[in-house]
């Protein structure tokens, strides 16, 4: 029996390695690629809504969401965008042939500024989500083992939830000064409890699954089980949670930049653009409407993807 169990583990391991399909790419690539690929697999344990078994709706919202995000990404990387060029003959104008979405109070093109801003805002938000996903899921898996460690971790994360993100950012800004890193860390700290709760709950539920018991019986280590049996089972819910978290992170980044805790002018970010727009709100709505609409569209896209992943195609 003993040799049989040992062979199970090694044969399984060899098959997985030879297969190559189940192998994780290196971490930086994995942070992005893994949720996407795992989410595209049929879910083994849908964390979806209980009533959603019968009718399957096409994830139209999610498709539109992906298209919006891709378009925004392409626009952000468009060559030749100049967010600083001033056109003093056209200040605070509405949409025109020269400036598609109008200009700000220095005559800078709002479309160019908003697109360049989306580079920074999306990068900060996604980096924060990646960091929080890694940290929160690791802690959640650890807490999913149960026992004293799980209890202590849960308490700590509960306490962490009591610190609102804006205040964490202020705290960090006092010591480190305002910077994109301050904002990113604050957002990540705010997102960790969510990942912790999702992954811990799933780990506790999956712990009782027959295949997990079988793996333990076959002599697999906790780490092996967590990595090869628990994590793949959580891929779908975690991917959904990541999409929802990305929306939250975008909104939080905008709020913190608006308060002046993140990037500093003249570099554009969505929050900073809105801050600048506020001074001119009595004269022209366009500086406020354009970045806000981009921000809402991006957040809405992520939310649509999240709800498609949650309900299961």
């Amino acid at each position: 029996m003993a040799c049989l169990t040992r062979e199970y583990g090694t044969a399984e391991g060899r098959r997985l390695v030879a297969d190559g399909r189940t192998r994780l790419p290196p971490i930086p690539v994995g942070l992005v690629a893994w949720p996407i690929r795992m989410a595209s697999l049929p879910s083994m344990h849908p964390g979806g809504t209980p009533g959603a078994t019968g009718r399957r709706r096409a994830p139209l919202g999610a498709l539109v969401g992906v298209m919006v995000l891709v378009a925004m990404g392409l626009g952000a990387l468009w060559p030749g965008l100049d967010p600083y060029a001033m056109d003093l003959t056209a200040r605070l104008t509405g949409p025109s042939a020269g400036h598609w979405l109008g200009t700000d109070r220095f005559g800078r093109d709002l479309l160019a500024r908003t697109l360049v801003a989306s580079r920074y805002s999306l990068a900060i938000a996604l980096a924060a989500v990646g960091t929080a996903a890694t940290a929160g899921t690791t802690l959640g898996l650890l807490a999913g083992r149960g026992g004293a460690v799980g209890e202590i971790l849960s308490r700590l994360v509960d306490a962490l939830m009591a610190l609102p993100g804006v205040l964490v950012a202020m705290l960090l800004a006092v010591v480190m000064g305002p910077s994109p890193i301050t904002v990113g860390v604050a957002i990540a700290v705010g997102l960790v409890p969510g990942y912790f709760r999702v992954s811990r709950g799933l780990a506790l539920a999956l712990r009782e699954a027959p295949y997990v018991e079988a793996a333990y019986a076959a002599g697999a280590s906790w780490w092996h089980v967590a990595r090869w049996h628990l994590l793949p089972g959580m891929a779908r819910p975690l991917a959904a949670h990541s999409a929802a978290s990305a929306a939250v992170a975008l909104l939080a980044d905008a709020g913190l930049s608006y308060l002046g805790l993140g990037l500093q002018p003249p570099t554009p970010s969505w929050g900073l653009l809105l801050k600048e727009a506020q001074q001119a709100i009595g004269l022209s709505p366009w500086p406020a409407l354009v970045p806000g609409a981009f921000l809402a569209a991006a957040a809405l896209a992520f939310n649509a993807i999240a709800s498609a992943l949650q309900s299961g195609r």
Binding site: V174, V175, G201, L206, G255, I281, A296, L300, N303
Partner: protein, 341 residues
């Protein structure tokens, strides 16, 4: 579905009394607040950078820096400083603000009432909107018949309401505030763009309308989606069919039979919602130039005012933890299932 541990034990046992639950929940909340405050304090100590030096400026004399360091309690090891600070904090003393030269506790309390007012007004508005819109959308979503033509109308209403709620969830409240300012204050000239302060130092209701609405709308979207999902799920229950068979109308079924049970998940997230609203109010108050906690804390950040910001964060953590504990305890009075948690 893999067996998930249910929150209530399978074997019948005595339901914990509300008092027991309140005591347990309260103790947990106090512990959480202490941990959060400690984290806030230690973060300022652990991060690189000499707070005293940045505060005094690079060209300050060493004696000045040394005195500042002693005043801030930076000359003792972090654990000792933490214990001292916590001992002072539980007595309501959070030190003196470097920027304003006033006791931190006094500054926080006088400015926090603005945020408290905003949140206190925004919560009922958001909850009311979410309940009405979410319930209507849920009835449309589950396609309850028996209302004839109204069924079509309700389904159409869901198609409109649900995306609107998604949109609400995806907009930051301060942007909603700016759009409202442009539409209501600049174009229609109905309400002031900057909230005027009355003679007594209190805000006038005309100035409060826009901040409160801006704060409530995104929250209403998030809560409304939750109500919609929860009520729609409740409408699938077999007892709904039984009650309908007895002749109860849709409204009666929803209000008297489905809503009480469906509110459970909504109310249990109310603590998180309150924290979100508090955070949102810190940003929204900046749009309207209200003299709230956000303004003085930002001033503190600019000035590297360590006691003020640390105290503000600890205070906010306490408020968040206590309100969510209070919500849980109050709800536990009505729903015994909560008390098992």
């Amino acid at each position: 579905m893999i067996s998930v541990r249910s929150s209530a034990p399978a074997v019948a046992e005595r339901v914990p009394s509300p008092w027991r639950y309140a005591a347990r929940r309260g103790a947990g909340a106090v512990l959480s607040a202490l941990v959060a405050a400690s984290v806030a304090f230690l973060v300022t100590r652990a991060l690189p950078g000499d707070a005293a030096l940045t505060m005094a400026g690079v060209d300050a004399s060493p004696e000045v820096v040394e005195r500042l360091r002693r005043d801030l309690g930076l000359d003792v090891p972090a654990p000792v400083g933490l214990v001292r600070w916590l001992a002072e904090a539980v007595q309501g003393r959070l030190g003196t603000s470097v920027r304003f030269g006033l006791p931190v506790a006094e500054l926080i309390v006088t400015h926090f009432r603005v945020n408290l007012l905003l949140v206190a007004l925004a919560v009922p508005l958001a909850l009311g909107l979410a309940l009405v819109a979410g319930t209507v959308a849920a009835i449309g979503l589950s396609g309850l018949d028996g209302w004839g033509l109204r069924r079509r109308v309700l389904q159409a209403a869901d198609r409109v309401i649900a995306p609107l709620m998604q949109l609400g969830l995806s907009m930051p409240s301060f942007w909603v505030a700016m759009v409202l300012v442009w539409v209501v204050a600049v174009r229609l000239r109905l309400l002031p763009a900057v909230a005027p302060v009355g003679d007594a130092g209190w805000l006038t209701w005309r100035g409060l309308v826009l901040p409160v609405v801006a704060l409530a709308l995104p929250t209403a979207g998030a809560l409304g989606l939750m109500v919609r999902a929860s009520v729609a799920q409740g409408l699938q229950e077999p007892f709904v069919q039984a009650v309908r068979a007895k002749g109860a109308g849709v409204l009666r079924v929803v209000v008297a039979h489905v809503l009480p049970g469906a509110l459970n998940p909504v109310i249990s997230t109310l603590g998180v919602v309150l924290a979100d609203l508090l955070t949102g109010s810190l940003v929204v108050e900046m749009v309207f130039g209200l003299p709230g906690l956000g303004r003085i804390l930002l001033a503190g950040v600019e000035f590297r005012d360590l006691p003020l910001v640390t105290g503000g964060v600890a205070f906010a953590a306490l408020v968040v933890v206590m309100t969510s504990a209070m919500v849980d305890v109050l709800y536990g009075l009505f729903d015994p299932r909560v008390r098992y948690r």
